[in-house]
Symmetry: C2
Subunit: 264 residues, 2 copies
């Protein structure tokens, strides 16, 4: 059993990704939709706002209006696009957000501590949070009955509010909860690069004890969260995490065959 | 067991509708999103197009781009809004479109025969179809495990393409497939009116043998499809269909207590 996370950066070849799915079985899909959300929210007159946390992570400021558009893109357009394409090649996919059946539950952040123009600041009105619980019995119920789950943020708070959670960490938590052997995180880069501008600087293997070093020294932007997701997965019992390239044909098979950055 | 269809016309009080849900159990929700879709597709520069079929029914012309926005609104915004609000009052809702797990399967129309400016015309490129099959075992699986299904179009064709199907008829077919006793169709009117401009002209009871007469003489626009959905439900074994008002408090309870148009 493996969990594969795909998207939501630009340049991902979803058709190739889905075609490759028919070469595999016993898996769960988690997807994003970030780049699509940026485009549509801008078109709808509510452009994205990103903030930098005091600990150095960049994240989306998700007010209520952004959350509505988030649901439109992640749970609507992207999720159903993937499910439809899977159904076209006779894979019985079923799409769910973390709200559905409290699939991904977590704690809503009370406020965001961010850095703006070099100054610390407290932001309120953000609907984001930290994943604490996966309803793995729902995932298992679907798998046992022949359905392939296609899962997307948002998650849900204990109070029942939609909360934005990171898709990569979400995939990591799901992998832990269903006791997956492997987690594949596919994006629009070949893996972790020493130099983000040089794709030949790929780091092929990372030992789990060296992951903090790699986060601090090589991971930029969203890659930091991918490594954090990988770390949480391995610490939770997943044997292997592969950061692979979603722009190529047979991206899943390639990752499973060792292409990309392997974390063990 | 009853099936309740709500939306997607303007003026519906979803908060009141969802609050009323806690007074009931053993039900399935089907919802629409038409009016919201019109607004957002216009904002996104792809305004809705409606056509009149040769048999006198008005329907949306659903090209691929419209279908993407359809998924955004129905499966994304509306479905997750309802699921989230239900979760807030501790109802363990799970939202699904007809694509998911082939929940609502049907035949895609090859072409649309329409009337434009008084002339018959054949339109192609429309992604709409007729429901033929409900995956009731998926609905029952969820119900048996404590989840309340919240179901939305689109449906899926046998070839795996998303198809636009009418929400009211969809609710009717679902009611038949799960052997529901009652089907409630809530909209922004009190029921079937003899005179659409006079809410006091409500027709309180319709016998199933008189439904064709009522479709021809009193039903206008979308009300025709509601009556068609009701007819299909009763012919399929549902005992009672109620056309009720979704603009009022306790709209479900009111309908179950006989407010609206009752078809038996």
């Amino acid at each position: 059993m493996f969990v594969v996370k795909v998207g939501g950066s630009e340049g991902i070849d979803y058709d190739a990704f889905i075609t490759d799915l028919s070469n595999h079985n016993n898996y769960i899909i988690v997807h994003g939709g970030s780049s699509e959300l940026n485009q549509v929210s801008t078109k709808l007159g509510h452009p994205p706002k990103f903030v930098e946390s005091v600990s150095g992570y960049t994240s989306r400021f998700t007010d209520r209006k952004t959350m509505d558009i988030f649901n439109m893109i992640y749970a609507g357009k992207m999720n159903k696009m993937i499910v439809e394409k899977m159904q076209q090649i006779n894979i019985n996919a079923i799409g769910l957000s973390g709200i559905d059946g409290r699939l991904i539950e977590g704690k809503k952040k009370k406020s965001l501590k961010v850095i703006e123009n070099g100054k610390k600041k407290i932001l309120r009105g953000d609907m984001s949070g930290m994943i604490e619980k996966i309803n793995h019995s729902l995932i298992e119920l679907l798998l046992q009955n022949g359905y392939i789950p296609v899962i997307t943020p948002p998650a849900i708070s204990y109070e029942g509010e939609a909360i934005n959670v990171d898709g990569d960490r979400c995939a990591g938590q799901i992998a832990v909860s269903v006791k997956a052997d492997q987690l594949i995180i596919l994006s629009n880069i070949p893996g972790l690069l020493k130099d983000p501008l040089d794709e030949s600087s790929l780091i092929k293997n990372i030992k789990i004890e060296d992951i903090d070093y790699n986060i601090q020294n090589y991971a930029k932007g969203r890659m930091k969260k991918k490594l954090l997701g990988a770390q949480e997965a391995i610490n939770g019992g997943v044997k292997k995490v592969i950061l692979g390239d979603a722009r190529i044909d047979n991206s899943i098979s390639a990752a499973l065959n060792g292409k990309g950055t392997i974390i063990e």
